[in-house]
Amino acid sequence: MKAPRLTDTTLRDGSHAMKHQFTREQVRNVAQALDKAGVPILEVTHGDGLAGSSIQYGFSGTNEFDLIEEARGAVTNARIAALLLPGIGTRKELKEAIERGIQVVRIATQCTEADISQQHFGMAKEMGLEAIGFLMMSHMRPPEFLVEQALLMESYGADCVYVVDSAGALLPDGAAARVRALKEALKTQVGFHAHNNLGLGVGNTLAAVEAGADQVDGTLRGLGAGAGNTATELIAATLDRLGYEHEWDVFGLLDAAEFVVAPFMPFQPFPDRDSIAIGYAGVYSTFLLHAKRLGRQYNVDPLEILVELGRRKTMAGQEDWILDVTLELAKQNKG
């Protein structure tokens, strides 16, 4: 059996845990190590995608276009991808990212709003890119609903559509059911992107692969939003042990995680109390650090903030509601 294509997004999803402060040197070293270990696609962007540098999500320490260029210059075989969330990034930034070296774009919408991505897929295909659709917060809708949204992206020209568990809220059967439904309905490839908030990063990824996923995501050491992503090196090792045919170097990835990424990580993402709350309440994984910071500032329990955000059915990118909810809870607690 052929292994799924592996995309490493340490330099994009990992940007959340790094508070968007990746340096050129870190990007160069990570990109080189992943390229050498045979990972074919590396995603490099602000955590919230192109043009994510903002008050809402956090300013980038180094301009993301410079980081894209740095990664492109560091690799021999791997191709560089960027993430784009319509509503945040636009075709203007997509064009610049292409000029600076990306060959793949991943276009992400809420899993209910695929129809805002048509102009971006159009431009990506026109400019000869591989274009991948990302249905974020996929746990919020059942498989048959996701199929309709995935078909829209396919009709816009997507080469692959991902089931994205942005909240790390899916359980293995839910991940598998969604991937299977898309596989049955689409002509294009299907992918899966996990977060480890409920400790199911590897489990969900394996379930997705068994259900037919053609592409999966990981990050070295799981560096990413919330409790982090599925560790790239764990995907590599477990799929190898399951007997999948692949071209990656398992030990090379273990070295990259241990000796390149671990030394600069500000903390090891892990299903701690607040991260589990994110998976349990089904909120966007990137809310973690914002909720912790505001919780400290206003003396409110981050867990309480995150659960309330889940109750309000917040979606990807609604970081400003964390402040709103925190202020309300702070008032209530006083009163």
């Binding site: 903002s54 319509p86 102009q119």
Partner: protein
């Protein structure tokens, strides 16, 4: 030529969709110095035209032509599409009518009623930017009239159900146009706009967060709060459901340029529910602003007002 016998200026609405219909209800409910003479569409069987007729409004399905044919109609609200407005703008200009453009076509200057409308009363075509722009630009301006604003950012969260196909297919234009509006009219040196659609059921009310970064660490907070509160009152004059959820929040933040004062304002807009549901505050603020702009132009034509 202007028929001012009844102290009113004749106006027409182009477009019988949701926006045109909501605007019709607003003008009928509060005509001010306007008389709604005509609502036109291009689909004879359209629900919007039938609804207008049932309320006693003259209608036509011949688009812009009957408006051009009636020289008494001085003000035309265009609630069609950017594509159609490019054509309409030229035709209306040639016959000397005032066009109030609710589409993203932007053939004329951007206007936000309490900020810059009075500067543009000699124009023949004005544009209402975007819903998010109408909601957030007044508050950025409220800060920039007190102290220089190097950077302003707005995040608009709207209910999925209130985002029509026009917004969905042109979401980049929303961010470009709104960001530009924060700069040109809001007074920010650099503007940034983010839009998020939320599919929750029941639908959420339109929400906007406005962030303003100020150079100084110590700013006159009282003067800023006072200016913002005054502006909220001004907007409430024509958008009753416009309110700040909290007093402006001040924080000192690390930015790439060093420590800066951040002012965060959390805004909620409840629609008046004239025709569109109250959660669609984003659409309400467009039609309410359009009505207000129409009223000010009507007063000018009649030679009254400021």
């Amino acid at each position: 030529m202007v028929n001012t016998a009844n102290g009113k200026v004749k106006v027409a609405i182009l477009g019988s969709g949701n926006i045109g219909s909501d605007l019709m209800f607003k003008i009928l409910r509060e005509p001010g110095h306007m008389e709604l003479a005509l609502l036109t569409g291009i689909e004879p069987q359209s629900e919007g035209l039938a609804r207008a007729r049932s309320l006693g409004v003259n209608t036509s399905h011949e688009g812009i032509q009957p408006i051009l044919d009636d020289p008494d109609i001085r003000i035309v609200f265009d609630a069609t599409s950017a594509y159609a407005h490019v054509r309409h703008a030229k035709m209306l200009w040639e016959v000397g009518r005032i066009a109030i453009d609710l589409t993203p076509a932007a053939r004329g200057p951007y206007v936000v009623p309490p900020v810059n409308l009075l500067e543009h009363l000699d124009e023949q075509n004005v544009n209402l930017i975007t819903c998010g722009g109408q909601a957030t630009i007044p508050l950025v301006h409220a800060v920039s009239r007190v102290t220089p604003v190097p950077y302003a950012e707005m995040v608009s969260t709207i209910a999925s159900l209130s985002a029509g196909p026009g917004t969905r297919q042109n979401i980049d234009e929303f961010t470009f146009t709104t960001a530009r509006g924060l700069e040109v009219i809001g007074g920010a040196k650099q503007g940034k706009a983010i839009i998020i659609l939320n599919p929750a059921d029941p639908p959420i009310l339109m929400r906007n967060t406005i962030y303003v970064l100020l150079d100084a660490e110590d700013v006159d907070r009282e003067a800023i709060v006072e200016s913002v509160e005054a502006m909220v009152k001004d907007v409430q004059g024509y958008v009753p459901g416009y309110r700040l959820k909290n007093e402006p929040v001040f924080e000192v933040r690390d930015t790439p340029e060093g420590k800066r004062t951040l002012v965060a304002m959390l805004l909620e807009v409840t629609g008046a529910g004239d025709f569109l549901p109250p959660y669609a505050g984003n659409l309400d603020i467009m039609t309410a602003s359009a009505r207000q702009v129409g009223e000010v132009f009507a007063q000018k034509i009649l030679g009254i007002g400021k």
